[in-house]
């Protein structure tokens, strides 16, 4: 609520920032929506990770190698990977278009990151690629902790593989899945590098998420006061979402409480 620049003494700005935000700032709403879309990629990543975890949990040769390969994308520095993805997706010389054309799967090159429609899905794929190995490790840990005798007993009782998965594995994995979900949601609000390096939020705000927007407002446009207002609104929004989620899941959002 102050007009503030690092160079000037602050003055009271009333509610003008909030007025600007709610009535004029389309990019804020766009980036909020994009954040929600980006967030919705976590369930996909978790689903994939779960499938992979089930596969590398089987007694096959070289499962350690598979695990390492799938995990390696997580600790790799995003700056390097971002540029590689940028190239993979390139319209003219990118590998994906090259493969698609060579296999005659498409006649026209696709401008993945440079077109409004494709940019967000493309970023989501890269984000899923980056996090899936990490989720897999967490889920794998959960899987290995399920006592094998439970499954065996169920198998003896004649439960099919699908039934065993639904009634034994899945419930016991719930905490692990929850942890993944939590990390996924946090990631969608705080992971900056990948989007920044790949698209910088573009084209035309197609991949602008809250964090890239706040960065832009504060450090590119030097509107610190406005960035602060954005953060406050974001915070209130998060409070509401958390409260609602908490109520809907019967107090379980964020593993909150059994005791209450």
């Amino acid at each position: 609520m102050q007009s503030w620049s690092p160079f000037k003494p602050s003055t009271f700005a009333g509610l003008t920032h909030y007025q600007e935000l709610f009535f004029y700032d389309e990019v804020f709403w766009k980036s909020l929506w994009n954040t929600v879309v980006f967030m919705s990629s976590s369930p996909i990543a978790i689903g994939l990770a779960l499938a992979l975890a089930l596969l590398v949990d089987t007694r096959i040769r070289g499962r350690g190698v598979y695990r390492a390969i799938i995990f390696i994308s997580y600790p790799l520095m995003t700056v390097a990977v971002g540029i590689i993805w940028r190239w993979l997706y390139d319209e003219k010389v990118g590998l994906i278009n090259y493969v698609l054309l060579s296999l005659h799967l498409t006649q026209r090159r696709i401008a993945f990151l440079d077109s409004y429609e494709w940019a967000m899905p493309s970023v989501v794929v890269a984000a899923v690629w980056q996090i899936v190995g990490f989720f897999m490790v967490i889920l794998l840990a959960g899987l290995q902790n399920i006592p094998p005798n439970l499954e065996e007993a169920a198998a003896l009782d004649g439960a099919s593989a699908g039934q065993r998965f639904r009634h034994i594995t899945l419930p016991l994995l719930r905490p692990a899945i929850f942890l993944c979900l939590m990390i996924g949601v946090i990631n969608s609000f705080t992971s900056f590098d990948l989007i920044y390096v790949m698209t910088g939020g573009g084209p035309n705000y197609a991949t602008e998420v809250l964090i890239t927007y706040i960065y832009r407002v504060a450090f590119v446009l030097s509107k610190f006061d406005y960035a602060a207002a954005l953060t406050i609104v974001l915070f209130v929004f998060l409070l509401i979402v958390t409260a609602v989620a908490n109520r809907l899941t019967g107090g379980e959002a964020g593993a909150v409480d059994a005791a209450e």
């Binding site: 598979y66 390696i72 590998l95 690629w129 946090i186 609000f189 953060t231 974001l234 959002a253």
Partner: protein
């Protein structure tokens, strides 16, 4: 397992591995050749390989010094995370007024991007006279809310009766944490160690802001040396990324067994 099923599993995992490795392969290839990645048609195999870029990295930046700094900071972060988060989580297992509000506050704060709070964080660190120190580097990462909930989930699973018994025996609260809660939550401890280590090891923006001294730089900061504007340093950049990655992957490969077992019980107990 039936052989046919094994083949199917291998085929699936093989395909997935290829997809997962493509970007990584290009990073590795570029670090060994310095080729322009945008060339067309894409060069699937490296033509001339040499380790020059790795040598460059070694000499361009004080690699060992940076590694040492990174290790020190990571150790502080991991230790502080264990202490702070376990204490906070224990508090949250007790009943008190306003608990719901605090939990909601924590959950919401968890999602606020660090870029948004970096200036206040800097000012606080400055007031504490911790700029340019390892402790200052570690400070914002010293408690992570996710890990509080990891601990809390684990503590909640400890049978009430056990805690009540301990109280009757006259154990002080901190002793209850130390002798009852923590031994039953080894997995939460492992989870916290791993998560906080990764976050600290790759932390970039904060060290960049808070460090004014070349001697105190952490490993990820070496990066900017290889994102030069003046010349194409792509090969060295990618060599650097591989060198930063190696400790993490080596740890993963060596400790795979423990790594996964460690995570195990924490996740299920929660």
């Amino acid at each position: 397992m039936r052989p046919s099923r094994a083949v199917a599993v291998h085929a699936t995992l093989g395909a997935v591995s290829v997809v997962m490795l493509v970007p990584f392969y290009w990073v590795l290839k570029t670090s060994l050749t310095g080729e322009n990645i945008f060339q067309y048609p894409p060069a699937l195999l490296p033509r001339v390989m040499h380790p020059f870029y790795y040598v460059d990295v070694w000499y361009y930046i004080p690699f060992v010094r940076y590694v040492i700094n990174s290790v020190i900071v990571s150790v502080i972060v991991v230790a502080a995370n264990l202490v702070c988060n376990a204490l906070a989580a224990y508090a949250l297992t007790l009943r008190f007024r306003g608990k719901r509000a605090i939990v909601a506050l924590l959950l919401s704060c968890m999602l606020i991007p660090f870029q948004a709070t970096i200036i206040p964080a800097y000012l606080i660190t400055k007031e504490l006279h911790l700029l340019n120190s390892h402790l200052g580097l570690a400070l914002p990462l010293c408690s992570t809310i996710v890990c509080i909930f990891v601990f809390k989930a684990s503590f909640d699973a400890v049978p009430r009766s056990l805690i009540d018994a301990a109280r009757i025996d006259g154990l002080a609260e901190w002793r209850i944490i130390l002798h009852v809660m923590l031994p039953l939550s080894t997995s939460a401890v492992a989870t916290t160690v791993i998560l906080s280590f990764i976050w600290s090891w790759n932390s970039f923006l904060w060290p960049l802001i808070v460090i004014r001294n070349q001697e105190m730089q952490t490993l990820p900061l070496g990066l900017s040396t290889f994102l030069s504007y003046m010349e194409n340093t792509t090969g060295a950049l990618y060599a650097f990324c591989i060198m930063v990655l190696v400790p993490g992957v080596a740890l993963f490969l060596l400790e795979q067994r423990r790594f996964i077992d460690g995570l195990t019980s924490g996740a299920t107990k929660g």
